[in-house]
């Protein structure tokens, strides 16, 4: 009985000390806090995304490699006087606008300059899918009201481009030529490029 009472007293003492200690710490903390204060500016910054891709294509060349969103590879034969039409939908899949430029490069400049002609037509931008008259139901190629230079492409918008490549009637010997049309999107210092790559062969005339 006595032992029980003694333990109870010890517990009570420990409890009291604990309460006092807590009160002391609270008092000191309060005293400190009333004369010092920190104010904050918390900033969260989310970066934009910059990305274009080939959403769809429409070609008159019979053979092509599968589309991988950034490169459309076309391989086939071409005959003198033939015109190849290729249409692609470039989608701005990022969150910023994009300025589009295009450039043609080839592995055989002499043949390109001598025997080929090229034209490019741009349509859009479109917030939704392009209208049928400029895409898959065009009565003629190129569709009417095409632009000679690409317009600015806002985020989430589409741009249609039709290009033709025509071989003249005059080549006299067989050749194979690689032609790359690069469409480069630019915003600030960011760039992204999609390509249409042709590998065209002229069989022996």
């Amino acid at each position: 009985m006595r032992k029980f009472r003694r333990n109870s007293q010890i517990n009570k003492t420990i409890g009291t000390i604990f309460v006092i200690l807590t009160l002391t710490l609270i008092t000191i903390g309060f005293a400190y806090s009333i004369w010092q204060e920190t104010i904050n500016i918390q900033t969260t910054l989310n970066m934009a995304e910059f990305k274009i891709l080939i959403q769809d294509y429409n070609i008159t060349l019979t053979t092509q490699m599968p589309l991988d969103n950034h490169i459309l590879e076309l391989t086939g034969t071409i005959t003198p006087g033939q015109t190849i039409w290729t249409g692609i939908i470039i989608k701005n899949n990022g969150t910023t606008p994009a300025t589009i430029t295009y450039e043609i490069t080839t592995n055989n400049k002499a043949i390109w300059d001598t025997y080929f002609t090229h034209n490019e037509y741009f349509y859009g931008p479109y917030t939704t899918d392009p209208p049928p008259e400029v895409w898959n139901n065009s009565p003629t190629l190129p569709p009417t009201e095409g632009l000679s230079t690409p317009p600015e492409l806002p985020a989430e918008n589409n741009l249609v481009t039709w290009q033709n490549i025509t071989l003249s009637d005059t080549p006299t010997e067989a050749f194979t030529i690689e032609i790359t049309v690069a469409y480069t999107a630019t915003f600030s210092s960011w760039t992204d490029t999609v390509y249409v790559k042709y590998t065209l062969t002229l069989p022996t005339p």
């Binding site: 006595r2 007293q9 003492t13 009291t16 000390i17 006092i20 200690l21 009160l23 002391t24 008092t27 000191i28 005293a31 400190y32 009333i34 004369w35 010092q36 204060e37 920190t38 104010i39 904050n40 500016i41 918390q42 900033t43 969260t44 910054l45 989310n46 970066m47 934009a48 995304e49 910059f50 990022g94 969150t95 910023t96 606008p97 915003f187 600030s188 210092s189 960011w190």
Partner: protein
């Protein structure tokens, strides 16, 4: 020993349990007393005023009162910046769709809503990706004061660098640490001597002004004063200042004036003379008059200016 005497002895026998309880009570009381004393010391320390006065009726409150945002976009609106004040002591800012070369500006106002001057101890940008962001804060700088009711404006500029990653989130925090102080007032020549003596290690003790700040004050005086020059190492500057502040007993009136004038300069550059006047003159006017008397020179006026400087330094 007979039976009677044995009974007498056992009339008031010692009670070990009672003694034990009494001892515990005493220890317990001492413990409580010690706790209370510690509490008072802690509280008093926190509320101290120059180490001699206890004033706990502080109303210290620094808050953001306004925040606006803008950016460097002129033609196109691509990125956005938005900010809001939360509970007065926090600004939450959000920048979305940011890109290289984009700059966001967060303009904010801080108000001292308390009744005591507030000192900005530190303005710190916590760890952030320096390869992607360039952050700067203008107008709000450490070691400045905000008087009661006064507002100050600051601006945070966030510049996105070329290396910033696309589709990525960056966060950062700016902490402005402030301390509520008793009213500012000019300090005596003795106060300033003490600061330099401690900084030079000539005496032990606690200085109220740290050596970096002291040197900054002397540099400021060096560039503004026509009388005082402080060059060389920090120690040399401090020694020069201390020498001026401690003229010999039978020194000239010129030396005495210089001593009080330097103390007034130190009070002036530390911002402790703001709002005070002696004989209708501000510290700046007294400094100008004293320096004019010394550089012209007009020895007849030395004592007059020395007394003015002295009174100003003892204004508290």
């Amino acid at each position: 020993m007979d039976r009677h005497s044995l009974r007498q002895i056992h009339l008031n026998p010692p009670n070990p349990i009672k003694e034990d309880t009494t001892m515990k009570t005493k220890i317990f009381a001492l413990l409580i007393l010690a706790m209370i004393v510690l509490s008072i010391i802690g509280y008093s320390y926190a509320c101290r005023n120059g180490g001699i006065q206890i004033n706990c009726y502080y109303n210290c409150d620094v808050e953001f009162t306004e925040v606006t945002t803008s950016d460097n976009e002129i033609e196109k609106e691509v990125a956005n910046v938005y900010a809001e004040i939360c509970d007065g002591d926090k600004i939450n800012a959000y920048i979305t769709n940011a890109y290289p070369c984009y700059e966001a500006y967060i303009d904010f106002t801080i108000k001292n809503k308390g009744d005591k001057p507030v000192h900005i101890d530190e303005v710190r940008i916590e760890d952030y990706d320096k390869t992607a962001l360039e952050i700067s804060i203008i107008d709000i700088i450490a070691c400045t004061w905000i008087s009661p009711g006064e507002t100050i404006n600051g601006q945070v500029t966030v510049h996105i660098l070329q290396e910033a990653k696309q589709n990525w989130q960056y966060t950062f925090k700016i902490k402005i640490r402030t301390t509520c102080y008793p009213e500012r007032h000019p300090r005596t020549i003795g106060f300033w001597k003490h600061q330099f003596q401690v900084a030079l290690g000539q005496i032990k003790g606690k200085a109220q002004v740290d050596p970096d700040t002291l040197e900054a004050y002397l540099n400021q005086i060096n560039s503004s004063s026509a009388v005082f020059t402080f060059t060389g190492t920090r120690t040399e500057k401090f020694q020069t200042a201390l020498k001026i502040l401690t003229p010999p007993n039978r020194s000239s009136m010129e030396a005495k004036l210089k001593a009080q004038l330097l103390a007034l300069w130190l009070n002036y550059v530390s911002g402790w003379t703001n709002g005070y006047k002696i004989d209708g003159m501000t510290a700046e006017e007294i400094i100008e008059g004293s320096e004019n008397a010394l550089t012209t020179p007009i020895p007849a006026e030395y004592e007059y200016w020395k007394d003015l400087c002295d009174r100003f330094n003892n204004i508290s």
